[in-house]
């Protein structure tokens, strides 16, 4: 009522006029948006359905996990392979774990698997989703239509394994309006990146770089399909002009991007080294990794492009130089498959049925005797061996315990080194305590641990998300001790920001 545009929104059916419904042109845009909307539905659905799962799963943000999964799969799509099932689950785990840290790891994995399986929609025979929407046809009749789509699909990978790939729909859901020219979009993203870096806005630069990488992946995927098709039939592709032009174009593109990204790389390296703020430094370092990955993908693309020429010549030899036959046969593709595919499935089935009935050859029917039949019916079914033959029980030989220190001594030593984070101690004092508590052996172990802490395993602690880390520093004071020589190390405990590190790790993946 208050909106001035309300008159435009009135359903045209109600307005007096010869046109009974909105034209198909107006409806087409609506249909497109409805389809785009439908693509997001499976994600919302995850959050809606999590309540139905056996267990208390409301703490998990399923849509977030799903988007992260689509991200992971997209980034792992290469030329031949898709992403590995288990790898995707494994990489999802830190995020799932961060959502509910106090839950068991098994539950985290279950959630990750549940999300991934729902993105594939394992339960349905098509392994896809279907949304129903309605449009007005050209004749003004309202028709309900089925829209079928997939988000993550399973494709055959190397050696018969099953890999995951994200579909175009999923990439569109993920990155937004990607339905544009790949090349120009990439150029735009890269120009943006350069500007951002020159202005020092690295946070935005990282986002742009990541988007550039998505586009690179998509570009590679398009080219992969093109080359794959070329392999199949030489005559199908215009090898006189079309493909050579395209390959030259693509090679130019690779060379161009390579130069471009190397320039960016140099710039960011400079930005990384000159950056004062540690946060900037870290982001620049991440950016370096992303751009390196882009370059790697371009190199891969280039090697594929170089293979295309020899492949064409080999196929040309095989197909074109064979001696011509006296008479021509039926063109199976052109005269059967191609005219068949656009037909309604009901009618097309008649043709495929005819082909099937005469194209499968013959089977000699088994003749059954009643005696055999009784035996057959009474035979218990053979159990499928899922696990293979039984493993022989391994013979275990106890290895003699030849440890230098006992478990107890280790526990004592670690207790001694359990220092307050704001109260570091000298090694000499620790050694004296150790001698008092457990003699020369314990002192020896403490000295070893302290020396070890002089080079603390920071990387491991970061990866494993530990909260405390023992370290030792040499400040030049000599150690005055009857058993040991060298520097009187300062031994202390550093507190680590476990939550922050976990967040970083998920970002980094």
């Amino acid at each position: 009522m208050t909106s001035p545009a309300s008159t435009d929104l009135a359903p045209p059916q109600l307005s007096a006029g010869p046109r009974p419904a909105q034209g198909p042109a107006a409806d087409e845009g609506l249909a497109r948006r409805l389809r785009a909307l439908a693509c997001t539905a499976p994600l919302h659905d995850l959050d809606a359905r999590k309540a139905n799962l056996a267990g208390e799963y409301t703490v998990y943000a399923m849509a977030e996990v799903a988007l992260a999964a689509i991200d992971l799969v997209t980034l792992h799509m290469d030329f031949d392979t898709g992403a590995d099932h288990d790898q995707v689950v494994a990489r999802l785990l830190p995020r799932v774990a961060a959502q509910a840290p106090d839950r068991p790891a098994a539950e985290h994995e279950r959630v990750a698997r549940w999300v991934l399986e729902n993105l594939i929609n394992v339960g349905s025979v098509d392994r896809g989703f279907r949304a129903v929407y309605g449009t007005f046809g050209t004749d003004g009749v309202y028709v309900r239509r089925d829209y079928d789509f997939k988000l993550v699909e399973e494709v055959p990978g190397y050696g018969g394994a099953v890999c995951l790939r994200t579909t175009d729909e999923a990439v569109n859901v993920l990155v937004g309006a990607l339905d544009t020219d790949v090349t120009s979009a990439q150029i735009a993203a890269e120009v943006k990146l350069e500007v951002l870096i020159s202005r020092g806005r690295l946070a935005d630069a990282q986002l742009a770089a990541e988007q550039a990488r998505y586009r690179t992946v998509q570009y590679a995927e398009t080219l992969r399909r093109t080359l794959d098709a070329t392999r199949r039939n030489v005559r199908a592709v215009d090898w006189l002009n079309g493909v050579p032009d395209m390959i030259a174009e693509a090679l130019d593109h690779v060379a161009d991007r390579y130069r471009h990204e190397n320039a960016i790389l140099t710039n960011i390296r400079k930005a990384r080294d000159e950056a004062e703020e540690p946060e900037h430094k870290r982001r620049a370092a991440e950016l370096v990794d992303i751009v390196k990955d882009c370059i790697r993908r371009h190199t891969q693309l280039q090697s594929r492009l170089l293979e295309a020429g020899p492949l064409f010549r080999a196929e040309q030899d095989r197909q074109a130089f064979a001696s011509p036959t006296r008479y021509t046969g039926l063109d199976l593709y052109g005269q059967l498959v191609a005219p068949l595919l656009p037909l309604p499935v009901e009618r097309a089935t008649r043709v495929t049925d005819a082909f099937f009935a005469r194209g499968t050859g013959l089977r000699t029917p088994a003749s059954v005797r009643l005696g055999d039949l009784v035996d057959l019916l009474l035979t218990p079914p053979v159990e499928r061996e899922h696990l293979g033959a039984e493993m022989p029980e391994p013979e275990l030989i106890a290895t003699p315990d030849d440890s230098r220190f006992s478990e107890r001594q280790l526990a004592d030593a670690l207790a001694l080194l359990e220092l307050e984070h704001d109260a570091p101690r000298r090694l000499s004092g620790l050694l004296a305590d150790a001698r008092a508590a457990g003699g020369e052996d314990l002192a020896y172990l403490v000295a070893l641990l302290a020396v070890h802490a002089a080079s603390p395993p920071v990387g491991t602690a970061y990866r494993q998300g530990e909260e405390r880390l023992l370290f030792a520093v040499d400040d030049g004071t000599p150690l005055d001790d009857p058993g040991f020589g060298g520097a009187d190390l300062i031994v202390g405990t550093a507190l680590l920001d476990a939550v922050g590190m976990a967040a970083d790790r998920t970002e980094a993946t």
């Binding site: 089925d146 055959p156 070329t230 199908a236 059967l336 498959v337 068949l340 008649r350 050859g361 089977r363």
Partner: protein
């Protein structure tokens, strides 16, 4: 020499007899030969033996001396050839070719006990129209992949090669092309919910997933690669394909029998059916997997170059 001459006259007499016999339309193939000087029960038994060799499609004449000998007799002795043909016809078989390379290539007539029925082939196909179509299309696509050009189908020496994943992506490619064309024309291809039979055929294939993980690491039977794999495995059992490797879901090469079967039986039957539907695919005998028309080059970059239908 003289012996041979005598034998020859004997068989030519028999030839006349067999001619009259088949015209009477009462072939009683395995019945003992009627009392005639030239046709002995032994001849009939040999003819039936040759047909029984033909019923074992994976048996190669080169590997079996008796088979090779009977084939030689078929080719050199017209009377014996007629007898063997009559035996085959009586059993409801159609003789495609008898040659050392293909052996006694016979195939089942439409109502023969040897015919393969869709319902026996795949249980789901009997009830689910989409599955029925997919199985049929898989067989057609395997043939189209095996003999991509008309020359290949006509050339007796041609050996086609195909892989399971290759067949699937070939069909997907064709479907993708149609999808794009429909998109370019602004056509809405989503089928009406209440008329699934009117869905365009290509959509059924592109909708079905390519593959899928299963609990016991077998191929997902309902996926398109599963359906193609079933087709090629079945054709291998029919002696039409030979497995050559495991790459790309399994690679195969064609046999002479498959070429005969597709060329003389299946292709023309499907074409007839298509003509009945009012679709007249015109061909001047050149390949239709051809480059796109001038000015259509942009499609090449946007998507794979195959298959183009001029």
């Amino acid at each position: 020499m003289s012996d041979n001459a005598v034998q020859h006259t004997a068989y030519s007499e028999h030839a006349e007899y067999a001619d009259a016999w088949s015209e009477q339309e009462s072939p009683r193939p395995q019945a003992p030969a009627p009392a005639h000087a030239a046709v002995t029960p032994a001849d009939a038994a040999d003819a039936a033996r040759l047909v029984s060799f033909g019923l074992q499609p994976k048996l190669l004449p080169a590997r079996d001396a008796e088979y090779a000998e009977l084939l030689r007799r078929y080719r050199e002795d017209p009377a014996f050839a007629r007898l063997a043909d009559a035996v085959a016809t009586g059993l409801g078989l159609i003789v495609l070719e008898v040659s050392p390379r293909a052996g006694m290539a016979v195939t089942a007539g439409e109502d023969s006990v040897f015919a393969v029925r869709m319902g026996d082939y795949a249980r789901r196909a009997a009830t689910d129209s989409a599955d029925r179509f997919l199985h049929g299309l898989a067989h057609l696509a395997v043939a189209a992949m095996a003999f991509p050009r008309p020359e290949d189908l006509a050339d007796d020496a041609y050996i086609g090669r195909l892989t399971v994943n290759g067949v699937d992506s070939f069909v997907r490619q064709a479907c993708l092309r149609l999808e794009q064309r429909a998109e370019e024309e602004g056509e809405n291809t989503d089928p009406a919910s209440d008329a699934p039979g009117l869905e365009a055929a290509w959509r059924v294939w592109s909708r079905r997933s390519t593959t899928g993980a299963t609990k016991d690491a077998r191929r997902l039977a309902g996926s398109t690669t599963g359906i193609v794999a079933k087709a090629v495995a079945f054709l291998t059992d029919s002696g039409f394909l030979q497995r050559t490797g495991d790459e790309n879901g399994g690679s195969y090469r064609t046999t002479a029998r498959y070429q005969l079967q597709v060329r003389d039986m299946a292709g023309s039957a499907a074409l007839t059916e298509l003509l009945d539907l009012g679709i007249v695919p015109v061909s001047d005998g050149t390949a239709t997997l051809v480059p796109p028309p001038e000015g259509d080059d942009l499609d090449l970059v946007a998507d794979a170059g195959l298959p183009f239908h001029a």
